[in-house]
Symmetry: C2
Subunit: 230 residues, 2 copies
Amino acid sequence: MGILLYDLAAADDAIRPSPFCWRTKFALAHKGLSYETIPVRFTEKQKLPAGHSKVPVIDDGGKIIGDSWDIAAYLEETYADRPSLFGGAGGMAHARFINTWADQLFVNTGARHIILDIWAAQLPADADYFRTTREKFFGATFEALQGERESAIGAWREQLLPLRLTLRRQKFLGGEAPSYADYIVFGPLQWARIFSSFDLLAANDPLNAWRERMMGLFDGLAGTAKLVGR
Amino acid sequence: MGILLYDLAAADDAIRPSPFCWRTKFALAHKGLSYETIPVRFTEKQKLPAGHSKVPVIDDGGKIIGDSWDIAAYLEETYADRPSLFGGAGGMAHARFINTWADQLFVNTGARHIILDIWAAQLPADADYFRTTREKFFGATFEALQGERESAIGAWREQLLPLRLTLRRQKFLGGEAPSYADYIVFGPLQWARIFSSFDLLAANDPLNAWRERMMGLFDGLAGTAKLVGR
């Protein structure tokens, strides 16, 4: 049996948006490992293996691992003979910083700009759960958060500058080839792309070229994903 | 002959503040390479080897390399048998992102908070050069920039969150031991510490523990540095 991935689903089972699950899907593809996904909605946590309450979780022949970072570390160690996700111990240590930076900027802050779109793509029970938990986190209504988008997006995009400057010097965050660092940053962009027709990147952002490269990887793993309403 | 490092000096020759030169000093120490420094002030660029206009520059037995990143890459390749600065190819690629992030946050933005203190520690000709070039860069007077410090420092410090979260999980950005990524981030903090009694870190910032560890490395290389007015 291949690896099982518990993957977040929206109202439509074919919509698989989670930024963290995308990181894991790319990590599995990078290692050349086949997998099947099990759709899990916000309010279907009982479907997850015991002791787990968040996606992604993988089941690798009975070995259960949760958390996208821990899954990447597990895959790197367990499948050490396959292409490296981190490019060595230093690569893994430094990727930890990129992971916390990206979570902060994209997931915790970037989500504001598309939060109503995310909410609207859920089944009613999931939509209620999502609104209650996230409005508490942000301390504002979804309408207020997304309503500030046009005035807030400029300052948000400025924070992408370190990415732009890095990708001006190298093709991927991983260097000449993609590494887990690329999947870390791409995951949330894919999440936004799936949920919203509003693009977090400006049309003239040089990061578009990198995102296009990412969408083409592994036979269009991300590029062929189903998008909400499209 | 050992390696020569052209190192920025303030009015007092013993004050060696450059964040980029600190990165290089740590890289040399990490590799266990001895070096001598040649003090160069802003207006003494004629002292630098031909074709170079910025510190750091090293002269390794006639091999001349400028730019802190390029120097680190040169040392890593040339002294490959000595302790690795990056921990592998992935570590180097990912450190490039940390380098651009840190330059943006600390050097381009963080400098605002201590810019008058930097200016005040220069010889008159250097002070004039520094004010003219940097006020043009920032589009504001030094007095205005440092004057906003009390109101601006809170939001600036929030941007250190990815560092805090990373260092909650590992002892150094490099993992169990320091890597060039640690020197990248520490360099600007050392620069600020040398010039100003105003601390970029809040007294209760958990990053203080990491900074203390950094100051103790290599027999107190940074911890024993001379500070302006102290």
